[in-house]
């Protein structure tokens, strides 16, 4: 039972490391932002998993509910999702600008131009 009790957290770490790998390995800037999104969603899953109570229901007042799940992580993650989209938008705008300045979104091509210049 103890191994099963940590199953969610282990999967979250696998997802997190997958996103991290994309961020540091992929040469393409758009793909890096995709990796960042995967990483971000895994953190959301971590928080929501912590908020779950066994036998609980959604935190909306209801007749006959024995326990409610913890509303606080839900609130924090609602904020984080919206902020995440704001950072994604800013990152993508930077990618578009980099593409105009260097003519490429490939990290190695950009670094080569920087060395020559």
């Amino acid at each position: 039972m103890s191994a099963l009790g940590l199953y969610n957290y282990e999967i979250v770490i696998v997802l997190m490391m997958t996103g991290f790998y994309v961020v540091i390995r992929s040469p393409n800037l758009v793909k890096k932002i995709v990796g960042l999104n995967i990483f971000q969603t895994s953190v959301f899953i971590l928080y929501i998993s912590m908020g779950k109570v066994a036998d609980g229901t959604a935190p909306i007042v209801m007749e006959g509910a024995r326990a409610y799940s913890n509303p606080l992580p839900h609130v924090l993650i609602l904020t984080a999702i919206v902020v995440g989209v704001a950072t994604t938008a800013l990152g993508l705008a930077l990618v578009v600008r980099i593409r105009e300045a260097y003519g490429s979104v490939d990290e190695e091509a950009i670094q080569k131009q920087d060395r020559v210049g």
Partner: protein, 176 residues
């Protein structure tokens, strides 16, 4: 089960060289995460993730792909260094989870600090049956204010980055 699907989708995103397919898979990944949030009792988070994470993010990325092209070049060099970094970090994190309270444990520290007060008093104090709404808009209203400031800042940043570009183009074309 859903978590397993999420892992499969994430690994597929790593393998794909076609960025269009990778972005569409990210949208599917977000929808799966939303389903998972429903099964974990977080309905508000689920529909925000479905609308904002799966909807707006995907549209923004597709718009960017339309501007920058959709094929990824093959990464040069061997992947052992990133892989080692990732495995070491992952191992450290797994070690850290061993002390975490078990999933669904009602006596975990996160459930015994401030949450019981929200659950017991917020329906009477705010008159809103949905506790997530009352905490978001009432008890932690300043957080939400800060969130809107972040969005405003990001919006200004995007406008400055992309709006300035059009003016530059106009100036370039002007003398011709």
């Amino acid at each position: 089960m859903l978590l397993g699907f999420l892992v499969v989708i994430a690994l597929a995103v790593v393998r794909l060289r076609n960025l269009f397919a990778a972005v569409m898979l990210t949208g599917i990944y977000s929808l799966h995460a939303a389903l998972l949030f429903i099964s974990l009792d977080a309905v508000d988070v689920a529909f925000t993730e479905a609308a904002v994470g799966a909807g707006i993010s995907t549209v923004l990325m597709l718009a960017t792909l339309g501007l920058v092209g959709r094929e990824e070049s093959r990464p040069r060099g061997r992947g052992w260094l990133p892989l080692t970094v990732v495995l070491v970090t992952g191992g450290a994190l797994v070690f850290a989870t061993l002390d975490m309270p078990r999933f669904g444990d009602p006596n975990a520290p996160v459930h015994t600090h401030v949450a019981p007060r929200y659950i017991q008093d917020s329906p009477n104090e705010t008159g809103v049956p949905n506790m997530v709404t009352s905490v978001l808009a009432s008890y932690r209203g300043y957080d939400t204010l800060g969130e809107t400031v972040v969005i405003l800042t990001a919006g200004i940043g995007v406008l400055l980055l992309l709006g300035g570009r059009r003016r530059d183009n106009d100036e370039d074309e002007g003398p011709r």
